[in-house]
Symmetry: D2
Amino acid sequence: MSIKEMIQDHPHVGDDYNSELGEAVKHAMYAAAIINSCADACLAEENAGERAECIRRCLDASDACTAFYRMGSRRTGQNVIAIRAMGLATIVACEQCHALCSMHDDRHCKRCTQMCEEVIRDVKAALGRMKTED
Amino acid sequence: MSIKEMIQDHPHVGDDYNSELGEAVKHAMYAAAIINSCADACLAEENAGERAECIRRCLDASDACTAFYRMGSRRTGQNVIAIRAMGLATIVACEQCHALCSMHDDRHCKRCTQMCEEVIRDVKAALGRMKTED
Amino acid sequence: MSIKEMIQDHPHVGDDYNSELGEAVKHAMYAAAIINSCADACLAEENAGERAECIRRCLDASDACTAFYRMGSRRTGQNVIAIRAMGLATIVACEQCHALCSMHDDRHCKRCTQMCEEVIRDVKAALGRMKTED
Amino acid sequence: MSIKEMIQDHPHVGDDYNSELGEAVKHAMYAAAIINSCADACLAEENAGERAECIRRCLDASDACTAFYRMGSRRTGQNVIAIRAMGLATIVACEQCHALCSMHDDRHCKRCTQMCEEVIRDVKAALGRMKTED
């Protein structure tokens, strides 16, 4: 099942799909889950106490990704400036998470780091496309 | 990127992965997004007013799937009886959504209906596996 | 501003308000925030590593409370059996959180423990009222 | 029970509480619930179809408030620039919701409109305080 195909079935979409936003929504959906899972995995590491700020930033980034993918997947009417502002917040939250998580060598932190990079890249691309649409 | 692989990287998991729960978490993650998107698409249909209860049940099912995938993806310590109870709530919420959404012929409702079926099947399988583990 | 008064303004409510459910929704809304805050406060304690399972159960309970208050505050059409099932899951998640959090003497854990007790009590009362309504 | 008192019990807070952020978090917590409830109430109005875009913007604003209050209530380490960016997104999402919801005379829309105003005012005050802290 694909959230991108789902969005294309929306009655207001038609030819005006914005594939960059679809890609960003898909990756933010994955990131909401994967970054949240990384927070939980860091919590189970022996040095969890030293990772407290990293865990906190993971939880923040997961919350931002959740809000972004939910807002970005809606197509009824429009709310472009709110999606843009949430996209910017999501980029910042993922950058902050990435700054700490990328310092760890665990496999879960490596996945989380990569996930943050993908969200940052894709949300930037989606916002770029949205700017030119005005 | 895969939430199932992410869970397997958790320090407490090792050989004790529970692949059924991993599958249920993955589909609940998709469902949280896709059923939420169906609510938004129904809202944009010309007969949105007649779909009010269907939209409401979609929102409820999306909320349940969100809670289940988040709880089910955590592996620090254990919280089996809470995951089970949330799994049961998720099955009921998806059945209630399915009962109304399956009455519509739109492509987004067909996807939503299928998504509900997959979550119900997979969460049941995960709960079955969890019962035999005690 | 009051979520209970808000629910009473819903066009489908009228005389049929169910004050017990309103009370349970209000406390679950508080609990979603307060238990989540306790997880964050435990993470900042010096012995955070020893609290890993407590933190996890706090996060689970917060997620359950979030889903319950959102579903329980909707009044369009009806979805009683889904609210009931989510109420049961919320009780279990809060009991599991309470079992570990009540072992700590910090002020934030004491608040979290009390919050869990209030949600458990109020959701049980709401479910009791819902059963007699059928 | 008070989310503001809860935050003050966090081990990293002490004298450095930031009461403006505490107030913004409290109102965003209420708004997450109340704006979500307004979406549900609009859905139950006879002219729900005409309110589709308003409902969508309510759901967006509720999602933003949820992310903001969760991030803003965490005090482990710091993540100021992410909270700021999320605060800005929350202001925009509430302004967009307010622009449409304030056109309706229903009591639930009046409450939602007032709630948006309070969040916008309080988040702006919190961001103002955070800027002078650097």
